[in-house]
């Protein structure tokens, strides 16, 4: 089974978002980078499927050329090769990203049985790139999948809705977008990291037409300082906490 996994690097935010002076981007000078949690699960799922069924995992990374760092990290857990779509620092909108990803998938020598993606990116969160890629490739798409089994060319997908799970089946080839919780991504081993250095990365350059959704500015919503009441520590705080719970009506 040959699987393509679409990924992109995003800043790893701690507890605060700091913007650049022009309010047009997140100031990433003091933060690290990684993948969106959904995408880490997509790579893990692909590696596991190939371990069980044979085949290959191709990463397709769209974004900054420095995304090679994230590619190598995912190669260290088992991805075989990668295509890096270099956007020259530009952040493509979902329409442009889907076009570039679909072009890379359809022009590759490998006929992919499965395209895995995150259901939405951590940063932009458009919830649409996977669907657009599927339409461009003429493939069916199942989104927001949290359970995935493949048997005889049919993918059985589960999606969480409230306290139940919906079941979808789809014949391959297909695009499936997944959510965090599908699995627990493994950590890279030292031999895995060594191997990753030598795996092939093909670099493609793309440029984009202007987006029809243009950002005027980014705004970090102002958090009203709630001014938390300090209940103290120890037994005194335990009594106070019980009282608060009575006051707000969760304890009668």
């Amino acid at each position: 089974m040959d699987i393509a996994v679409c990924i992109k690097r995003v800043p790893l935010l701690g507890s605060a978002i700091v913007l650049t002076a022009d309010n047009m981007a997140i100031d990433t000078s003091k933060v690290g980078f990684g993948l969106s949690p959904h995408e880490e699960c997509a790579v893990e799922a692909a590696v596991k499927l190939v371990e069980e069924n044979g085949g290959s995992v191709t990463l397709i990374n769209i974004g900054h050329i420095d995304g090679e760092e994230q590619i190598r990290e995912q190669m260290a857990i088992g991805a075989d090769r990668a295509i890096l779509i270099d956007t020259n620092g530009a952040e493509p909108d979902p329409q442009a990203a889907a076009t570039a990803l679909a072009d890379a998938i359809s022009s590759d020598d490998t006929n992919f049985d499965l395209v895995l993606m995150g259901s939405e990116s951590a940063d932009y969160g458009g919830s649409q790139t996977g669907i657009r890629v599927a339409h461009k490739l003429g493939l069916p798409v199942v989104t927001s999948v949290k359970g995935l089994k493949i048997d005889s060319g049919i993918a059985t997908c589960e999606r969480a809705v409230g306290s139940t799970r919906e079941v979808y089946t789809v014949p391959l080839p297909a695009v499936i977008t997944v959510k965090d919780g599908l699995n627990i991504p493994r950590y890279a081993s030292v031999p895995g990291r060594m191997k990753a250095r030598k795996k092939p990365v093909d670099i493609k350059q793309v440029s984009f037409a202007g987006s029809r959704i243009t950002t005027k500015q980014l705004v970090v919503p102002v958090q009203e300082a709630k001014g938390a009441t300090n209940l103290g520590t120890g037994a005194e705080a335990a009594d106070a906490l019980v009282e608060v719970m009575k006051q707000i009506g969760v304890l009668s």
Binding site: P171, R212, L231, D239
Partner: protein, 319 residues
């Protein structure tokens, strides 16, 4: 005219759809709804009660349970026939999925998770959309004669606007493969007890719990007050608790009466999932932890020593 895609589950309307109708009403009095699938007609009256002046019910013998691309096909036919200025839906997995298909079919931009929408002159609309699970807002201009957008849950209040019920039915014309992906079965959740998303009280643990064992205390608290246990992403990544309990941007978003955060520092990923709690109480050794900025009450103590004391008092108080 503005067309709202009405999301329902076998005849039960999703509440965010009503918020979408109210958001649309603020843009144009002529708000029409489209609803597809088994039970579609049952929700028409409720759509009218919130202001839909016309409800289009799409029928097809193959369309029973949720079938995303076919629903988009039905919406697309109405768009072509009636040229609405905008198509709006609730910012839910289904709403985003159906409008994602619609946008792909028409090769139009799609602004998901909007918290503000204004129609400007010509083909432009000024929107504000949520990024990073709502931790960052994107003020943007969308250029298209057809604005396709979803509204973030709870960003708009649903207000009743009694329109007389007017229902028209139409046959949905499907294309090849439109019914290939659809809900085929439903299976019960493995999680017992109170569902996290609906729980009135969520007792949640983070890195400060130092391992799976201490979660027994959170289960005990949840048991006494009838709440659900939650956790941060660190906890599920470490395998201490199942992912179904994760609260956050990539887990469950909760809005309980009380959110009790135990040993949670308050990364943006986590705050995105719990900031809608009516009351947030944080127990943490660090009074300067980011979570304290969102808390109504804080206990500055170690969860391992404080929680046993608290459980004793809690049990005494509930007896």
């Amino acid at each position: 005219m503005i067309l709202v895609y009405a999301e329902h589950d076998r005849g039960e309307l999703d509440p965010v759809t009503l918020q979408a109708i109210s958001a649309a009403k603020a843009l144009d009095a002529d708000v029409q709804a489209v609803v597809v699938g088994h039970g579609a007609k049952d929700v028409a009256a409720e759509l009218a009660a919130f202001g839909a002046v016309s409800v289009h019910v799409g029928n097809h013998p193959e369309l029973l349970d949720f079938t995303p691309r076919a629903h988009a096909r039905a919406v697309n036919a109405l768009v072509t026939a009636n040229s609405p200025r905008a198509v709006i839906a609730g910012g839910t997995p289904r709403g985003n999925e159906v409008l994602g298909h619609l946008a792909a079919m028409r090769d139009e931009p799609f602004a998901s998770e909007c918290v503000s929408i204004e129609l400007a002159s010509g083909d432009t609309a000024e929107i504000v959309r949520a990024r990073w699970g709502g931790n960052l807002l994107d003020e943007a201009t969308v250029t298209s004669s057809l604005l396709i957008a979803t509204v973030q849950a709870h960003a708009f209040a649903a207000t009743s606007a009694d329109a007389p019920l007017s229902v028209s039915e139409f046959d949905v014309e499907l294309a090849d493969g439109d019914v290939l992906v659809r809900v085929e079965d439903r299976v019960g959740s493995s999680a017992g007890g109170v569902g996290l998303a609906e729980a009135k009280v969520v007792v949640s643990g983070g890195r400060g719990m130092d391992g799976p064992d201490a979660f027994v205390m959170l289960e005990e608290i949840a048991g006494v007050i009838g709440g659900a246990v939650g956790c941060s992403r660190v906890v599920t990544s470490a395998g201490w608790r199942p992912h179904a309990e994760q609260v956050g941007q990539t887990g469950t978003k909760v809005a309980p009466d009380l959110y009790l955060a135990c040993g949670i520092s308050g990364a943006t990923q986590h705050i995105a999932g719990c900031k809608s709690a009516k009351t947030l109480i944080a127990i943490n050794t660090d009074s300067q932890a980011p979570i304290m900025g969102f808390a109504d009450y804080m206990v500055v103590d170690n969860v391992h020593t404080f929680l046993p004391l608290f459980i004793e008092k809690l049990k005494a108080a509930s007896n």
